[in-house]
Amino acid sequence: MRFDKKANILILALLIGLLLSLQMKNDAKTYAFININTVATLSNELDATKKDIVGLKALIRSSGNELNRYEMLKDNDEDMQAFLRDEIFKTKAVAGYTNVIGEGILVRLADNLEETQRNINFDLVHDVDIAMILNDLINSGAEAISINGKRILSKTEIICIGPLIRINGEGVGAPFIIKAIGNKDQLFAALNAPHTYAYNLRESYGLEIETMKSDFILIPKYSD
């Protein structure tokens, strides 16, 4: 019996010694401890850089073409002028300083005017609602957007100023008429597909949102 116990202790002690030495050998110096965030960050960064490279290549191609055209035109002043005017018009259009026409949608966005007995804030159109709807439209390929005749550009602010919303430095009140040019079906879906932001505003908060497709939408240029 005494012998048994001694043997037990011996075996245990051996095991511990073995495991301890294994543990020490298994020193983690050779492995870097990396969490999953590092991998995600890196692969995102890589993805972004690759997309940038694709964009840069396209830009270099178009600049090369432009350069070739310049070389052909440089001796002829009139051609040069025509070329520059053409470029100005194109750039101006992209910057939002020309009127545009095309197919798209019309949206009427208004406060919930019924008596609802709940917090008044749930019944109103807020600046963030408009910002989200515009963002959804841009994501669905909107090429030009206006609200109550004010062209929406990257520098446009959409800010609550009490009963109005400030857009391009001027107050705009409900109902908001949003016009957007782009693929009309996609734009329509951006506001009417289930669980889009606009859908939730209409179904859960009872705001008035009507969308209409049209083949002929006119959007004015940006004016200061």
Binding site: K5, I9, L12, I16, L19, L22, Q23, N26, A28, Y31, A32, I34, V39, A40, L42, L46, D47, A48, T49, K50, D52, I53, G55, L56, A58, L59, I60, S63, E66, L67, K74, Q81, L84, I88, F89, T91, K92, V94, A95, G96, T98, N99, V100, I101, E103, D127, V128, A131, N135, N139, E143, I152, S154, K155, E157, I159, R166, G182, N183, I219
Partner: protein
Amino acid sequence: MKNRVFILLLSITLGLVLAFQYQLVRDTADGIVFSQRVNQLTSELKQANEEKVQLIADLNELERRLREYESDAAEESVYVKTLSDELAKFRQMAGYTDVKGPGVVVVLDNPPLENQFGEYTNNLIYNYEYILLVISNLNAAGAEAISINGQRHTNYTEIVPVGSHLNINGVSMIPPIEIKAIGNTQTLESVLNFKGGAIWEMKNLNFQVDIRLVEEMEIQRQIKTFEFRYAQPYE
């Protein structure tokens, strides 16, 4: 009795060591896969960055030659000069040029891990309306150029959650989100620090916000060119 206590202690130690061992082996096994992946990603990223730097240099060279042609032509006639000045102006408005100036850098990040509740409530990716609000606020303060993680904010910039990241200008990114804006630093700062504003709300929700004023910074041009497909511009 003494022996039994001894064996008990030994068994506990043994159990602990075994558990540690198991834990360590499991962690490092994952770690090996991760570290290989990371090494691979880092080297790919390095290559991609080198290529990008090279391409940007090429592009700058091309643009320099283009500007040279323009200024040559402009020297010959005043009208061409007016035209090329106007073109430069609209290029800048469309976001096709790098811009420099004083401004603010805002870094928005998710709350520290111990303050996150659930997957959606405290994740910037699913609360991206705050990014829209911050940009709107910056615009209200007269920001002249804005970029988000290096992507220029243009008329066609979307901010959209896709799975576990945000797509901005079609490029996917995860927090931290760095927003740069050029403009009057005083106005930009005060609009951001406005009590009850978007940043204030974010701080209340434990989001990590860092606002820095910068005397001189650069905001990159947009790298994609934009073409209308449905809209027809006219004067």
